[in-house]
Amino acid sequence: MAYHWGFTALEAVGGTAQAAAPFFSNPERTSMVNKIFDSVAAALADIQDGATILIGGFGNAGMPHQLIDGLIEQGARDLVVVSNNAGNGDTGLAALLKAGQVRKVVCSFPRQADSWVFDELYRAGKIELELVPQGNLAERIRAAGAGVGAFFTPTGYGTQLAEGKETREINGRQYVLEYPIHADVALISALRGDRWGNLVYRKTARNFGPIMATASKVAIAQVRDIAELGELDPEAVVTPGIFVQRVVKVA
């Protein structure tokens, strides 16, 4: 495998574990950047129990199915998962929940016609839920990626979802203080990526990918296609490679 390097990539990924060896290193300090991993398993190998994981997707659009399947195989447990929904049907995020690997879900819309896996765990008291209005969820992730310490948002003011939170009147309008959501890992899906980690997406499958990449120590993108360096139009790159640590092609 080619060398991979980068500041964040040298840290253990997630959780409280301190001792995990860096998954990869670049002892020779070769100058070539290559964030492309040969397999999903290799890209996920160092995820620790207890990690906070951002998972992209809105319903099935943009859902990194292969990475989630890889995480089930990898077996990290006690995870906190941040995603818009809490799984559909029996595959993807629903399968991860069903495998008992998730302690807590942070999301905006868990209950859907086909969210039976989450529903059952929730009613049985086997999973924790933090419900966040969708725009606050997005902005909390964006704030983490942008280095913002907290922000005042009008969304949710005066509702159950703002109970106990600090509020402030600014220019005659009421706001609620919300904090960023930082994560150890982001699992996202993009259309194409290159070895510098630049990404482009496809249609509404973009959704949470770009902001989740910014808010995690290690952003792992599954792509349908690897682009040669320079092939992606710099004017059209959606996620600049600085935000992405690992790229893996999936079938």
Partner: protein, 211 residues
């Protein structure tokens, strides 16, 4: 008296959406409004999962899993459409860039509080999605709902008994019986369906109405 059906309410809402408006139609009943916007009137539809310039449902067999609306239904993108990520999409709402959003409701209070995300039932699994962002984000929030519940209680109320989605955020309410504006003075009747008079509407409504 012939109550307006869902499509007639949607058609009435559509009358109030001018060309050039940026509009978000909430999940459920409000999506019907799109069917009543005349094609020559250019209205740009926003869907919060990341698309401006949303077009109608694709023909059978033309569905694209990567091109869906907030209700996760397949849609199309019109010429001129743009895709964007979630933080940008909600900036469009919260930042006051959307002209109008149309939402369904369980209840609207006389000062324009909206309850539409949660019945408050103890065994219900809560889910909020973008409802709270839409409620406080768009410049004008139009609500489409039946005037009365199935058991005949007014959905226009003094104080919402269901959990709130947003405080004092509703501009106008379209029901099967009337169109009403939420104003600083109170709820003002804009129009009443044929065959129903103000006094009867007042009798059915849970709050004092202004003419």
């Amino acid at each position: 008296m012939q109550k307006r059906d869902r499509n007639q309410i949607a058609a009435r809402v559509a009358q109030d959406i001018p060309g050039g408006a940026y509009v978000n139609l909430g999940i459920g009943l409000p999506t019907l409004v799109a069917n009543h916007l005349p094609p020559e009137r250019e209205v740009i539809l926003h869907t919060e999962n990341g698309l401006l310039g949303m077009g109608p449902a694709p023909a059978k067999g033309e569905e694209d899993d990567d091109l869906i609306n907030a209700g996760k239904q397949p849609v199309t993108a019109l010429p001129g459409a743009a895709f964007f990520h979630h933080a940008d999409s909600f900036a469009m709402m919260r930042g006051g860039h959307l002209d109008i959003c149309v939402l369904g409701a369980f209840q609207v209070s006389r000062r324009g509080d909206l309850a539409n995300w949660h019945t408050g039932a103890p065994d219900a699994i809560p889910a909020v999605g973008g409802a709270m962002d839409l409620a406080i984000g768009a410049r004008k929030v139009y609500v489409m709902m039946e005037h009365l519940t199935k058991t005949g209680e007014s959905k226009l109320v003094d104080t919402c008994t269901y959990p709130l989605t947003g405080v004092a955020c509703v501009s106008r309410v379209y029901t099967d019986l009337a169109v009403l504006d939420i104003t600083p003075e109170g709820v003002r009747v804009v129009e009443i369906i044929d065959g129903l008079d103000f006094d009867e509407l007042q009798r059915l409504s849970g709050i004092t109405l202004l003419r």
